[in-house]
Symmetry: D2
Subunit: 138 residues, 4 copies
């Protein structure tokens, strides 16, 4: 009897993501798995703000990066490692309170490169940014 391909559980993704020191520092956590990606969230805290009192663009870039990394871990059932080769992000709206939500979609899974698109939302589900992130499989 063929063994069923073992999927990675949401809890495992959450644990793996939280165990990464910088994700833990910033408070990035996995909230959902999708067929083509994942949804992450990060609460706006005072120490994540910029001079204008809104979420720092570096946090938004970080969560976009992580959203594609976790989607790759999910897609390959944790069997492949990958590293970010480049990231492009557009910022649309300042995020003042609540949380930022990052929904990644893997749009290209090549032999060497994987590309993800990320939609970034504020607590009211308004599109606050968009990103394209490339990872190289190791």
């Amino acid at each position: 009897m063929p063994k069923k391909q073992k999927q990675i559980a949401l809890q495992d993704l959450q644990r793996l993501t939280r165990r990464i020191p910088f994700n833990h520092l910033v408070g990035i956590r996995v909230v959902r798995r999708h067929r083509d990606g994942v949804t992450l969230e990060c609460a706006v805290r005072d120490d994540l703000r910029n001079w204008a009192g809104v979420l720092h663009g570096g946090v938004t870039a970080a969560i976009a990066d992580v959203a594609v990394g976790v989607a790759i871990t999910n897609h390959f059932h944790r069997k492949r490692r990958a590293t970010t080769t480049e990231l492009k992000i557009n910022y649309f709206l300042p995020i003042r309170d609540g949380k930022i939500i990052a929904r990644s979609h893997l749009i290209r899974i090549g032999k060497t490169l994987v590309v993800g698109r990320v939609d970034l939302f504020d607590s009211e589900k308004r599109l606050a940014g968009a990103a394209l992130v490339t990872y190289m499989l190791l």
Copy 2:
């Protein structure tokens, strides 16, 4: 007698940058002013690492973003505010220890948009990444 255009001092840039909560959290600090930009540094700390034990890509994106923001503050002698509209970063080398150094160059100062190029180095001055960052003047 015409008043001399007052430049912003390195100490002021350092104080302003450190006062930004997320910069403080990550440990981003200004080390030098240049005619066309600034040099920032950030020490690699354990809580800034990713799963591979190297500096998290989100930290690198954050310091690139900040390097252009501080260059704008420097250029306009603190008289204009600006917000990041988009950022593109390429990662070349993992940064394992020591520090990351970000040197920004303002390459386009328009009426509305300012674009900076950022070269990112590791402690051995090897090019570890490159970025293009656009800010909109407010």
Copy 3:
């Protein structure tokens, strides 16, 4: 009696797009209007190929750029002019024959900047690339 907001007809968009010299040279044409963007096509011709005999990346970048420009013309009923400030494109698959199809979505319409996302397909509707394009309203 209030005058109805006059939409721009598909034929007008097609005529305007074709009248742009470089679009005409490359053979970029509008095939559909959508609520949030447009669909363009460009047939693969021998003089649009690169050294490998596939569609040149410059053509793909051009059609992505135009797809957002035409979407803006459509959105503002031809009342606003805009100019590209930056463009990011990822290439997934070579396009050997048939045509390239570009579907743009305006994802951010600000007072100054408009951002479009573009999905690029080959004749078999495989995703051949993805782009993010920013225009500034004039």
Copy 4:
């Protein structure tokens, strides 16, 4: 006696570049080789213009792409083939007349990916744009 590593001649680069159909159509030509890249030029012709009568952004993206491709051919003495995986370009100034000049610098030569930075100038040597382009070695 060890055979001297044979460099590719400027004339060979020029011939190879011109032989690529789309480069020929647009009129992109190599004018100089440098230690870390090449300089290309393209004359502004009426059929390369956009609605505003200036050089079409697609031409600028194309010459940026080619400038890195030719730099790779030059660097590897024509021994390696490569394909564009992603391109990011910022536009600063419209180019109305004369020519566009693209100067590429290879800033990262990895085992799999090569990244080039491109500075784009108008005939008066004003910086008209900047690009980062990634190629994958085949």
